[in-house]
Amino acid sequence: MIPVENYIGLSAILFTIGAMGVLTRRNAIVIFMSVELMLNSANLLFIAFAQVYQEVGGHVFVFFVMAVAAAEVAVGLALIVAIFRSRGTINIDDLHHLKG
């Protein structure tokens, strides 16, 4: 079989790429995509360990994560549409109206 370390490495790399995307990209939709990437990396890890320890709980949790991710994306995209309608931009650097 494929050694579990490969899966862990892949998951780590995906997570890092996703984190970098969240921190450095300006477009809100791209930030969402990066967040999805982070979530999926976590999913991959869950499945890998479920296989290793022959646990079915891992699979169940992946379903939870997917459901949450979907809900979150729905809400987030609705927010972005609302912001675009009122501000005309979704460049997060230009959205600093909550500054103290």
Partner: protein, 735 residues
């Protein structure tokens, strides 16, 4: 029941406290109900209180017949401090009961007299509401005087001593808004102050005597002290007993008006006449004589003290008699006469003649009270003649009547110019301005009063003869006993007293001729009316006592001496009758009266403006006598003005300038303000304000700093979160 059959009878010693309590009850009744119930009630209550006290005194005297050595009735413990034990106790023995009888007996008569006299006086002084106050004070006086004579220790005596001084002050200054001549002013209260302060000086001496007594003899109770004096006289330093005697003498000179503290008594004539009679003739001033008599063991143990007492008494007797000769005010003559007679008494008890002194005290109370009350009657008559009060029912004089009368009587055409004014109108109220121009007490405004006031004239004659010492009146027996004792014991005193007796007869004769004989010199004297019965009846009773009072201690029978012997033992020796002394004194008295007739009776003063014949004869000596030898001026120069200057210095310079202006303002106020400024400026503004400013600035600086974190950039926030997670995870994994 004859008195002799009572000798084994019941004793009433337990009633002793009532002699003090009954007058107190009387005055309380008058305080509570007097104003409401009116004058009759007040007079009756006060007189009854005095009379009941007299009844109790009589009962005590009867008890003494069964138990002559007397008894001490203890009511309660008053003071117990260390070794000093003073009970509230009443000493009933023959000496104290004698005083009680005199005080309450003469006191009752004076109360009755005063109830009539004050009725007029309060209306002349325009203050009818004061009637009650007068009788309250009179009863208070009786209560205190009884405390004085019945006390069983020096301290109880002193309570009464001070109390009668207080009552004297209250009664001398009774009309405290007026002067003695009736005008508005402060001289009456000045006289009261003078009496109180002069007495205080005497009391100081008395206190020192009491301190010495307690210190060396351990007690203030009479029987303990006298026992100690007799047994311990050799164990105390030799100066103690004479010192006690001499300091007691200082107290006596204050209370009994001897040299040098007698100056208050003539001024005390500012009080209403019943006051002069009761307090300043019959009772209070005799307290000093009583004190010396009571302390006879102390005086018998010290010849020096005795000599000094006798000398002071004799010199005072002569001195005061000379002043009395030159006085024109009827009451002043009697006042100086009282000082002189007190000198007789003090000299007597100083020489060891206690019986003679006490005998003279009793007879003097009778005839001096009589003379004062008689003088009051004369003064009242003159006032009523001068200024009839419609409110009292006196008919106002009509102008016409006065005109014809005056022209008829005063043939030389001399109007009574002083009182020409007020009788024009038919209606009078008291208090017109003309009062102050007419002195009803000046003998030059009198004359011929035996026609207008016959009863007063006759009783006054009897009082005069008693005082002058004409046999068989009371004064002869008592004064003669003093002179007899003096001729045996102390010749110097004998000569001084004899000359004083001569002058006594002279000035009393002068007074009689000036007041009652001749022609009335003013309209007032002519229009005078006899006094009402409330006044003349007590006068009559006193006159009777002045006539028969000598029977108290007739030679060889010596009733009074035997009576006193129960208390005083051998000290109450009865003097032998010395016929030579008696004849000499009687001859001198008659000569004096003849002399006074030659000067004043044969050719009486014709008008108020005439000079006194004695003035023509003696010139400056008479002026000296009239001005009382300038004693008051001398005291003023020597003591009073320096004291007032000192007091003013203390008040203005020390208290005001130094203490208030400098110390309070500069030291205290300025110092405090300096301290305040120190606290306010550097500390409050400088330090505290800065701290709070700093806190505020710091907080806003910090907040400015921290608010830069909240820049609204979501990416920054995300980065912070990410880094925080990394740190926490790192910590958890690497731990």
């Amino acid at each position: 029941m004859l008195l002799s059959e009572v000798s084994a009878g019941p004793t009433f010693f337990a009633l002793a406290p009532w002699v003090v309590f009954i007058p107190v009850i009387g005055l309380l009744l008058n305080i509570i109900l007097g104003r409401r119930m009116g004058e009759r009630f007040v007079g009756i209550v006060a007189s009854s209180a005095a009379f009941l006290a007299f009844i109790v005194s009589v009962l005590l005297a009867l008890s003494l017949r069964s138990q002559p050595e007397g008894m001490v009735v203890t009511l309660a413990d008053w003071l117990t401090i260390g070794e000093l034990h003073v009970p509230w106790a009443f000493n009933v023995d023959t000496l104290s009961v004698t005083m009680m009888l005199v005080v309450s007996g003469v006191g009752t008569l004076i109360h009755i007299y005063a109830s009539g006299y004050m009725h007029y006086d309060v209306r002349y002084k325009e203050d009818p509401a004061s009637y009650t106050r007068f009788f309250i004070y009179l009863n208070l006086f009786i209560a205190f005087m009884m405390t004085l004579v019945s006390g069983s220790s020096y301290l109880m005596l002193f309570v009464g001593w001070e109390g009668v001084g207080l009552c004297s002050f209250l009664l001398i200054g009774f009309w405290f808004t007026r002067n003695p001549d009736g005008s508005i002013g402060i001289n009456n209260s000045n006289a009261a102050k003078k009496a109180f302060i002069t007495n205080r000086v005497g009391d100081f001496g008395f206190l020192i005597a009491m301190f010495l007594t307690f210190w060396y003899f351990g007690s203030l109770e009479f029987h303990e002290v006298f026992h100690a004096v007799e047994t311990m006289a050799s164990t105390v330093p030799s100066w103690v007993i004479p010192a006690i005697g001499i300091f007691m003498l200082v107290g006596v000179t204050g209370k009994s008006a001897q040299i040098p503290l007698f100056v208050w008594l003539p001024d005390a004539m500012a009080g209403p006449t019943p006051v002069s009679a009761l307090i300043h003739a019959a009772t209070m001033v005799t307290a000093g004589v009583y004190l010396v008599t009571r302390s006879y063991p102390i005086f018998e143990a010290s010849h020096l003290a005795q000599t000094i007492v006798a000398t002071v008494g004799a010199v005072t007797a002569l001195f005061a008699a000379t002043v009395a000769v030159g006085q024109f005010d009827i009451k002043k003559v009697l006042a100086y006469s009282t000082v002189s007679q007190l000198g007789f008494m003090v000299a007597a008890v100083g020489m060891g003649g206690f019986v003679a002194g006490m005998f003279h005290l009793v007879t003097h109370a009778f005839f001096k009270a009589l003379l004062f009350l008689g003088a009051g009657s004369v003064i009242l008559g003159v006032e009523r003649g001068h200024h009839p009060l419609e409110s009292t029912g006196d008919a106002p004089a009509k102008a016409n009547k006065k005109g014809t009368h005056a022209e008829a009587k005063h043939g030389k055409g001399q109007e009574a110019h002083h009182d020409a004014g007020p009788h024009d109108a038919g209606h009078h109220d008291a208090g017109h301005d003309d009062h102050h121009a007419f002195d009803p007490q000046d003998m030059r405004n009198m004359g011929g009063m035996r026609k207008s006031m016959p009863v007063t004239f006759w009783v006054y004659m009897m009082g005069t003869l008693a005082l002058a010492g004409i046999v068989p009146f009371a004064g002869f027996w008592s004064k003669d006993e003093i002179l007899a004792d003096a001729s045996a014991e102390f010749p110097l005193a004998y000569w001084l007293l004899t000359i004083a007796a001569f002058l006594t007869a002279f000035y009393m004769g002068r007074q009689i001729w000036m007041v009652f004989f001749g022609k009335p010199r003013t309209h007032a004297a002519e229009a005078a009316k006899e006094s009402p019965m409330t006044m003349t009846i007590p006068l009559g009773i006193l006159a009777f006592l002045s006539v028969v009072g000598g029977a108290l201690n007739l030679p060889t029978i010596h009733t009074f001496a035997n009576w006193l012997e129960h208390t005083m033992g051998h000290a109450a020796h009865a003097g032998e009758f010395n016929p030579q002394v008696a004849i000499v004194s009687t001859v001198l008295a008659l000569t004096a009266i003849l002399l006074s007739w030659l000067l004043y009776g044969r050719k009486p003063l014709a008008s108020t403006e005439d000079t006194d014949p004695l003035r023509r004869m003696l010139g400056p000596i008479f002026v000296g006598m009239n001005r009382k030898w300038m004693v008051d001026e001398f005291y003023g120069w020597l003591i009073i003005r320096p004291y007032q200057r000192f007091a003013a210095f203390l008040a203005d310079k020390v208290d005001w300038d130094f203490w208030h202006n400098w110390f309070h303002d500069s030291v205290i106020a300025a110092g405090f303000q300096g301290l305040t400024r120190l606290l306010a400026d550097p500390i409050d503004l400088g330090f505290v304000d800065r701290v709070s400013y700093w806190l505020a600035e710091g907080t806003s600086g910090l907040s400015r700093l921290l608010s830069r974190l909240q820049n609204g950039f979501a990416r920054n926030y995300a980065l912070m979160v990410f880094m925080g997670v990394v740190v926490i995870l790192g910590y958890v994994i690497l731990r």
